[in-house]
């Protein structure tokens, strides 16, 4: 057995092909994204609350935040289909769902970015928290995670409950 064949078998045995080629049955992710979002926020707060040297709390926050970031990028694969494959193009319902989910997600993200800008204008107000340079980097990743997660979450709520009978 050649190395290539072994690697090929490993891919099929681990099910990586299902993720790469999007062979998974799309499901509604109605509550899981909420936990991922909560983990992102809690992780960020833990990291941002450290003012001096990194502590155990900081590392816990780091793990939580970047774990949630990874989850956000993988959850898309299991949620409603947004990416067409050569065998399964998106049909009219899926295209409409995708358009609505991305539109709502864009509006929400723009709204939060606007509120963030208003908050950042309060730099001169003493006692308020403002991001340090490292916090800005985490914030960037946080926004990216939300941009990946929100469309799947919104689409899961926009589409009807799954069919009880998935026979064919």
């Amino acid at each position: 057995m050649t190395l290539l064949k072994k690697m090929d078998d490993l891919v099929y045995a681990t099910g990586i092909d299902k993720i790469l080629f999007r062979k998974v049955q799309p499901r509604s992710l109605r509550w899981i994204p909420l936990f991922v979002l909560a983990a992102l926020i809690v992780g960020y707060v833990f990291m941002a609350s450290i003012t001096s040297r990194p502590t155990a709390k900081f590392f816990m926050g780091w793990l939580l935040f970047y774990g949630a970031y990874l989850a956000a990028s993988f959850l898309r694969v299991f949620g409603p289909r947004f990416v067409a494959t050569a065998r399964d193009p998106l049909d009219e319902r899926e295209l409409m769902l995708k358009a609505r989910a991305y539109a709502i997600s864009g509006i929400l993200l723009a709204g939060f970015a606007m509120l963030g800008c208003f908050y950042m204008a309060s730099e001169d107000v003493p006692g308020l928290w403002h991001p340090k340079p490292y916090d800005w980097i985490n914030l960037g990743f946080g926004v990216q995670a939300c941009a990946m997660l929100l469309p799947s979450w919104i689409a899961s709520w926009l589409q009807p409950p799954p069919l009880a009978d998935q026979e064919d």
Binding site: P26, R81, D88, P89, D91, E92, R93, E94, Q159, P160, L163, D165, E167, D168
Partner: protein
């Protein structure tokens, strides 16, 4: 917005066609056929006409804004009128 009723499930059962077969024939996901049958999704005119063409019936026989008469009621009416349904 008014409800759009359909008889896709009835025609599918009568012809022995699976959701997947119908979905492949009209170029949609089989979940979409399921949502259509359940009344959770209103098809575009193009999709409605494709489904009607697949079953070889006029589109108004498959889709209606009024609730369709049940098969049992149709049979009962036919029996009362002395017709062979």
């Amino acid at each position: 917005m008014s409800n759009l009723y359909n008889r896709i499930a009835l025609f599918r059962a009568e012809r022995g066609v699976s959701r997947r077969e119908l979905a492949e024939a009209v170029g949609v996901n089989n979940q979409t056929i399921g949502y259509l049958e359940r009344g959770d999704y209103k098809p575009s005119l193009e999709l409605a006409m494709k489904i009607a063409a697949y079953f070889g019936v006029p589109v108004e026989l498959l889709f209606s804004f009024q609730r369709f008469e049940s098969v049992a009621d149709t049979l009962r009416r036919a029996a009362a009128a002395g017709e062979q349904p």
